[in-house]
C-alpha cells in the first residue's frame, strides 16, 4: 500500500469514527421532549437588531418581530444602525414609528452609531437591555410567530442554572434558485446534526437569527467581541469556556435569507470557516481538555479538522486518479478527441465476461457505508424541517446536485481559507 492509499484510509477512518460516534449518540440519547405546564407569566425579553446597509430588509424584519406572538408589554425591541451608508436608518425609523402606533404598549427604539462592526452594534443595544432574557436578530431574518415563546419556554421546561443560550432552527427564507435550495438541505442536515450536539452540550455557535440568551450571563462575560467577524461563534465558544450551556430548541423556527449566487455563498462561507479556525485557535486551551467533556475532547478539534480532511481527501483522490485521468486524456488524443468513435469502439470491445472480477468490493463497501449515513442524515434533516419526510418535486434536482457536489464545494472553500490563513490575509465582512 502506498502513502496515498494509507492517507486515504486514515482520513476514512477518522471520518467514519466521528460519524459513528454521533450516530450512536443519537440512537442512545434522543433528547426527551419535556413539556411542562404552560407559562402564564411570560418574562420580559429584549430583541436587539443590528443592521448595516439593510434598507431592503429592515422594514419587513421589524414588522415581523413586532408581530410575533408574545405579550407586547413584555417585549422590548432595540434596532441599532451600525453606520449604514444607505437608507437603512430612515427606513427603520419609519417601521419603528409605525409599530409604536400599532402596538402602543411595545417598547421599541432605534439607536445609531458610527460603523464599528456588528459586535459593537449588539453591545450598544445590550446597554439598553434590562430584561432577564435577550435575543439578537439579524436584519434579514424572520422568526415564525410562535418561535420566541418556544425559545423562552425551553428555558423554563429545561431549567438549569447553567443554561445560558437557546438557539432556534434556521430555515432558508423562500428558497427560489438551485443555490438556495441546496442550502435548504444543508441547513436541514446541519440542524439535525446540531440537535445531536445539543444533547452532548457540544454546540459552538449561537447564530445571529434569534439566539436567545440569559442577559446576566452575557453581560457578566463582557458582551460580544469582534470574534474574527464571527461574533456569534466567538460568544458560543466563550460560553463553552465558561461552562455555560447552549441548547437547540428543535421546534422554534426562524427563516433567514440565504445567498442567491455562488459568489455570495463562497464569500459567506469563507467568512464563517475563517472565523471558525481563528476562534478555535483563540480557544485552543479547550482542545482535548477533559474538563469540557465531549466538546473539548472530541468536537472542537473536528470543526477545523473536517476542513483539513476535506481538502486532503480531494487532493489525494485527484492524485490517486491521476493515472486514470492521464490515460483517458491520451485515449482521447489517440482518437483525435472524437468521443463518439471512442464510445463505439469501447462498446464493440466491451468484455463483460467475469465482470465481477473488476469490482472493487472494498471501495464499494466503504462508499456504501457513507451513502447510508448520508441518506440517514438527509432523511432526519428533512424530517426535522418538515415534521414528516416530504419533499416538493422542485427539490429533487437540488438534492441530487447537493449530494454530488457539496463536498467538493466545502473542500474548495476550506482550501481558500487555509491559503488565506497561511498568507495572513484578512477576510472582509461585506
Amino acid at each position: 500500500m502506498d502513502l496515498v492509499q494509507v492517507s486515504l484510509n486514515v482520513i476514512y477512518f477518522i471520518s467514519l469514527y466521528y460519524t459513528v460516534f454521533w450516530v450512536l449518540t443519537y440512537l442512545e440519547e434522543e433528547e426527551p421532549v419535556k413539556k411542562k405546564k404552560p407559562l402564564i407569566d411570560w418574562p420580559r425579553v429584549s430583541i436587539v437588531i443590528p443592521m448595516y446597509n439593510e434598507e431592503e430588509n429592515i422594514i419587513s424584519t421589524i414588522d415581523n418581530i413586532c408581530d410575533v406572538d408574545y405579550p407586547k408589554d413584555k417585549l422590548k425591541i432595540i434596532v441599532v444602525d451600525d453606520g449604514s451608508k444607505d437608507k437603512s436608518f430612515e427606513n427603520a425609523k419609519i417601521a419603528v414609528e409605525k409599530n409604536k402606533k400599532k402596538y402602543p404598549e411595545l417598547d421599541i427604539k432605534i439607536l445609531h452609531q458610527e460603523n464599528k462592526g456588528k459586535y459593537a452594534a449588539v453591545n450598544l443595544g445590550l446597554k439598553y437591555v434590562d430584561t432577564p432574557f435577550f435575543a439578537t436578530l439579524d436584519a434579514d431574518s424572520y422568526p415564525e410567530r410562535d418561535s420566541l415563546k418556544k425559545l423562552i419556554k425551553y428555558f423554563y421546561d429545561n431549567y438549569s442554572k447553567d443554561l445560558a443560550a437557546v438557539t432556534p432552527i434556521l430555515k432558508v427564507y423562500k428558497p427560489e434558485n438551485l443555490i438556495q435550495k441546496m442550502q435548504w438541505f444543508e441547513y436541514a442536515i446541519n440542524h439535525f446534526y446540531k440537535s445531536v450536539l445539543s444533547i452532548r452540550d457540544a454546540i459552538h455557535v449561537t447564530p445571529g437569527p434569534l439566539a436567545l440568551y440569559k442577559t446576566k450571563v452575557v453581560k457578566h462575560l463582557g458582551g460580544f467581541r469582534p470574534g474574527h467577524k464571527t461574533e456569534d461563534m466567538e460568544l458560543g465558544m466563550r460560553l463553552q469556556k465558561n461552562h455555560d450551556l447552549i441548547k437547540q430548541c428543535n421546534d422554534a423556527i426562524v427563516y433567514t435569507k440565504a445567498p442567491k449566487t455562488l459568489r455570495a455563498l463562497v464569500k459567506q462561507r469563507l467568512r464563517w470557516y475563517w472565523g471558525t479556525v481563528k476562534n478555535v485557535i483563540d480557544y485552543s486551551d479547550m482542545l482535548f481538555n477533559k474538563e469540557y467533556h465531549d466538546f473539548g475532547l472530541f468536537q472542537l478539534i473536528m470543526i477545523p479538522l473536517s476542513g483539513v480532511l476535506a481538502v486532503a481527501l480531494v487532493f489525494l483522490m485527484g492524485f490517486s486518479m491521476r493515472d486514470k485521468i492521464k490515460m483517458q486524456y491520451l485515449s482521447l488524443k489517440a482518437y483525435d478527441f472524437n468521443i463518439f468513435e471512442i464510445i463505439k469502439d469501447s462498446f464493440a470491445h466491451l468484455n463483460t465476461k467475469f465482470w465481477f472480477l473488476n469490482l472493487d468490493l472494498t471501495s464499494i463497501a466503504m462508499m456504501s457505508v457513507f451513502l447510508l449515513i448520508m441518506v440517514f442524515l438527509i432523511y432526519k434533516g428533512v424530517k426535522l424541517f418538515n415534521r414528516r419526510f416530504s419533499l416538493e418535486k422542485s427539490y429533487f434536482i437540488p438534492l441530487v446536485i447537493y449530494i454530488l457536489t457539496y463536498f467538493y464545494f466545502l473542500a474548495f472553500v476550506w482550501l481558500i481559507v487555509f491559503k488565506d490563513l497561511i498568507f495572513k490575509k484578512e477576510i472582509k465582512w461585506k
Binding site: 484510509n9 447553567d162 467533556h293 489517440a334 472493487d360
Partner: protein, 234 residues
C-alpha cells in the same frame, strides 16, 4: 444539570464499530484478490494447454502428418490470442490493485509473460508456414515505468487505438522490461538490442517511440489488405 457527562463506553463502542467496518472492507478486498488469483490460475493453465495444442498442431502440419490446416490453425490462434490479450490487461490492473496476494500475482504475471512470448513465437512461425492466412502484423512492445519511459503511456494509447481498429490483424505482445523474474525478457531485450524505452519491434524491425501516423505507416507497410483500413495511405 451541568454539562452532559462523558460516556466512555461510547468512545470505545464507536472505535469498535469503525474497526469492524474497516476489517469488513479488508475482508472484501481479500475475497476479491482470491477470486482473481483463482481465475487467473485456472486461465493460465488453460492458456498453457492452448499453446501446447497449437504447437502440436503446427508441428504435425510441418511434418506432413496433417494436411494443410493453415486456416483452421489461424482461427484457433486468433481465438487464443484474444483471450490472452484481454487477460493480460486485466492482470496488470489487478496486480496494481492487489492488496494481499502480491506474490501470487507476480507468479501469474510470469506465466502470462511466458505465454505471450510463446504466442509471439508461434505467430512468427505461422507467417512462414501459412503465408496466405497470415495477413497480420506483430508488435513486440517493451515498456517501463513512468520515470524510465515518460512516453510509454502515449505509445500504449496509440497501440490500443490500432488494436481496437484491427482486432486480430494486429498482435501486440506487451512486455514489462523491468520484469526480471522472467529471464526470457532479458534475452529478447539483448537480441533486439533494446536500449531505450519504449521499443517496438514491428514484424521484426525495431523502432523507438512512434506517433500515431508513424505507427500507422509501419503497420500498413506489412499489411497485404491495406484498403480495409482508412488509416493506410496508398
Amino acid at each position: 444539570m451541568g454539562r452532559a457527562k462523558i460516556v466512555r463506553r461510547r468512545y470505545f463502542a464507536a472505535l469498535l464499530i469503525t474497526i469492524s467496518i474497516f476489517i469488513l472492507g479488508l475482508f472484501f478486498g481479500f475475497l476479491m484478490d482470491n477470486l482473481r488469483t483463482d481465475y487467473f490460475t485456472q486461465f493460465a493453465q488453460k492458456q498453457e494447454l492452448d499453446y501446447r495444442s497449437l504447437q502440436l498442431q503446427y508441428e504435425l502440419m510441418n511434418s506432413n502428418v496433417l494436411s494443410n490446416q493453415c486456416q483452421g490453425l489461424r482461427t484457433l490462434f486468433d481465438k487464443y490470442i484474444k483471450d490472452l490479450e484481454d487477460n493480460r490487461e486485466r492482470l496488470e490492473v489487478y496486480n496494481q490493485k492487489a492488496k494481499i496476494n502480491k506474490e501470487e500475482f507476480a507468479l501469474l504475471k510470469r506465466r502470462y509473460t511466458l505465454s505471450q512470448i510463446n504466442f509471439w513465437y508461434i505467430s512468427q512461425n505461422l507467417r512462414q508456414t501459412c503465408p496466405n492466412s497470415s495477413d497480420y502484423v506483430t508488435i513486440l512492445y517493451f515498456y517501463g515505468t513512468d520515470e524510465q519511459c515518460p512516453s510509454c503511456d502515449e505509445q500504449a494509447s496509440y497501440l490500443d487505438y490500432f488494436k481496437k481498429k484491427m482486432g486480430t490483424q494486429l498482435l501486440i505482445f506487451a512486455l514489462d522490461s523491468n520484469f526480471e523474474e522472467e529471464p526470457t525478457i532479458s534475452v529478447l531485450k539483448d537480441s533486439f538490442d533494446v536500449d531505450t524505452l519504449p521499443t517496438l519491434v514491428v514484424n521484426g524491425k525495431k523502432f523507438g517511440f512512434l506517433d500515431k501516423e508513424q505507427l500507422a505507416d509501419k503497420i500498413c507497410e506489412h499489411l497485404r489488405d491495406k484498403e480495409k483500413y482508412g488509416f493506410c495511405k496508398d
